[in-house]
Symmetry: C2
Subunit: 116 residues, 2 copies
């Protein structure tokens, strides 16, 4: 099947784990059924300039971000580092992460959460 | 951790399931260990104009393509349809798919294979 439209696009204004501003999430799979129970998120997400995902830990699952465009500051389990298009961030179960759009353009990324 | 470079980028010249030309695959996760045994591919792939992924079936796993840019013709388990940026194709276990770059630019997509 082919999913065309902006199905399941959600704007989190107050739920982005304590971050600033708006996080826009387009779910690409209607998890968990479409992920065969193997994970709980496969999404194209974005942060506008100055917006952020607040620091949070992962328990029982790990999350990968694949940066598609824009520039950000990534908190890699406590270590701050810059990220840009082409970078892959991996947060294993038990680790935490956060991300802030430090650039002037929208920060786009793919997010994948798989169970441990 | 953050994976910066073009790690594990592979060009398949004769292995793209009987398709035409070159398929470029950048593995974002070094599966299956980094996928916690839940799948076997999470990659940023691309097809140059005129190049294709030949038709093939999936057994024991399903594959999702998320089209990032370019235009293509997608064989959705026997039904031909056009795809472009923003489209999500879902091929469940037991189904088959193929894709041809019918545009003038590189067709970029994210590929995710999860076990059934």
């Amino acid at each position: 099947m082919v999913r065309r439209s902006e199905e399941k696009t959600v704007e989190y204004k107050d739920k982005n784990w304590g971050g600033e501003g708006i996080t826009t999430i387009r779910s690409l799979l209607n998890s968990p059924e479409e992920m065969y129970g193997k994970g709980r998120a496969f999404a194209h997400s974005s942060l506008e300039p100055g917006c952020s995902i607040g620091f949070h830990y992962h328990k029982g699952d790990g999350e990968v971000y694949y940066i598609l465009g824009g520039r950000g500051e990534f908190n890699d389990n406590g270590t701050i580092t810059n990220v840009q298009a082409g970078d892959v961030t991996i947060t294993h179960p038990g680790q935490g992460h956060a991300m802030l759009n430090t650039g002037g353009e929208t920060l786009h990324y793919i997010a994948l959460i798989l169970y441990e």
